[in-house]
């Protein structure tokens, strides 16, 4: 197993193992700083972002909503964690030359053509459905997958099985099952 692959990428085993170390250090650091252990996660931040945007146009609607009240619309630890992901990825991509402006992913273009509008529409629609699902399931592949399974949570194993099981099925319908290209 090589640590470094071509084009500046790291082995997914190595990068993943380092995320494991990061998750442990983060659990310890959040416990020390906030008195309560916080685990890596992302999807609640989208609720807070929606609440912040909605508050700008309809503050009374946000104040009166039970879910926004429950999740507290604020820029908290996890919100900044998700923000940090953007910058971490940017720096990694710029320093190894893998940064690339891309409007349509290669695998998508291979199946559905180079239309940016088509890709944008389906990414948007998929995003709506995925986030409703993530909030109902109470987590995403970070919160349920990484953090849940690390703790051996039954909910983490169950959620990841549904995520991947459905993902495999729908990907087969959308992108086709046979090898082409």
């Amino acid at each position: 197993m090589k640590g470094r692959l071509q084009d500046g990428a790291w082995s997914p085993y190595l990068a993943g193992a380092l995320v494991g170390v990061l998750a442990v250090v983060s659990a310890l650091a959040t416990t020390g700083l906030m008195g309560k252990t916080s685990y890596l996660g992302a999807s609640t931040t989208f609720v807070r972002a929606a609440g912040l945007l909605e508050r700008a146009v309809a503050p009374e609607r946000v104040a009166g909503n039970a879910y926004f009240t429950k999740e507290k619309v604020q820029v908290d630890w996890q919100f900044m964690l998700v923000t940090g992901v953007l910058f971490g990825a940017l720096v990694a991509a710029l320093t190894d030359g893998s940064f690339k402006m891309e409007g349509v992913p290669p695998a998508w273009a291979g199946r559905f053509g180079p239309s940016v509008g088509k890709r944008a529409f389906w990414a948007f629609a998929g995003g709506i459905v995925a986030m409703i699902g993530a909030r109902l399931a109470d987590g995403c592949p970070s919160g349920h997958g990484l953090s849940g399974m690390m703790q051996l949570s039954l909910s983490g194993f169950a959620a990841l099985a549904f995520f991947f099981g459905t993902g495999i099925l729908v990907a087969r319908i959308v992108y086709g099952g046979r090898k082409h290209e």
């Binding site: 993943g16 972002a49 891309e102 409007g103 992913p105 995925a130 699902g133 703790q151």
Partner: protein
């Protein structure tokens, strides 16, 4: 240090590693769901294997608390199916969409916008869901060790063995 600053630093390291492992790509995400390229599974399981040992030790020493999410079966099943379907079409999960923007894949912006709209819609649906799906059977905050009545340290070596076997199989099949 503020909790926001800690979050930003942790997120920066997380985003850096996600990018270095090349798991932020649409092609990798969809490749895993099409069972052709297991990069994201190798990445996730490696993180879980290493993190699982560390979290297990620190919680054993009472340095951190375990925080299981509740096993609310109906919500996890329906939510999991919706998430899986959206994930396959969008080609990103929440974290990787943000990270993909960072590496210049700006089509991820539409995924991010969709997810913000989805979150706002969920907030509107919440009162209805709370009295229906979310009120169904909830087994509570349950861990595999308690459910099976065995020690965490009986499960972790077994999980390591299963994953290492899976990794060997991935490498043999060049997945």
């Amino acid at each position: 240090m503020s909790s926001q600053m800690l979050g930003l630093l942790t997120g920066f390291a997380f985003g850096f590693l996600l990018q270095k492992g090349r798991v932020l790509r649409f092609d990798k995400q969809v490749g895993a769901m099409r069972l052709r390229d297991m990069t994201i599974l190798k990445f996730m399981l490696s993180a879980i294997l290493v993190g699982g040992v560390g979290i297990g030790l620190l919680s054993h020493w009472d340095w951190i608390q375990i925080a299981h999410k509740p096993l609310n079966v109906g919500a996890i099943a329906i939510g999991g199916v919706l998430f899986g379907a959206g994930w396959a079409v969008m080609g990103f999960c929440p974290c990787t969409a943000i990270g993909a923007l960072g590496e210049g894949r700006w089509h991820a912006l539409f995924a991010v916008l969709g997810m913000v709209v989805g979150a706002a819609l969920y907030a509107e649906l919440y009162p209805l869901l709370k009295s229906t799906v979310l009120a169904w059977k909830d087994f509570g905050k349950l861990g595999l060790p308690e459910a099976l009545g065995v020690s965490r340290w009986a499960i972790i070596p077994l999980f390591w063995a299963m994953c290492l076997g899976l990794f060997a199989w991935f490498e043999k099949r060049a997945l």
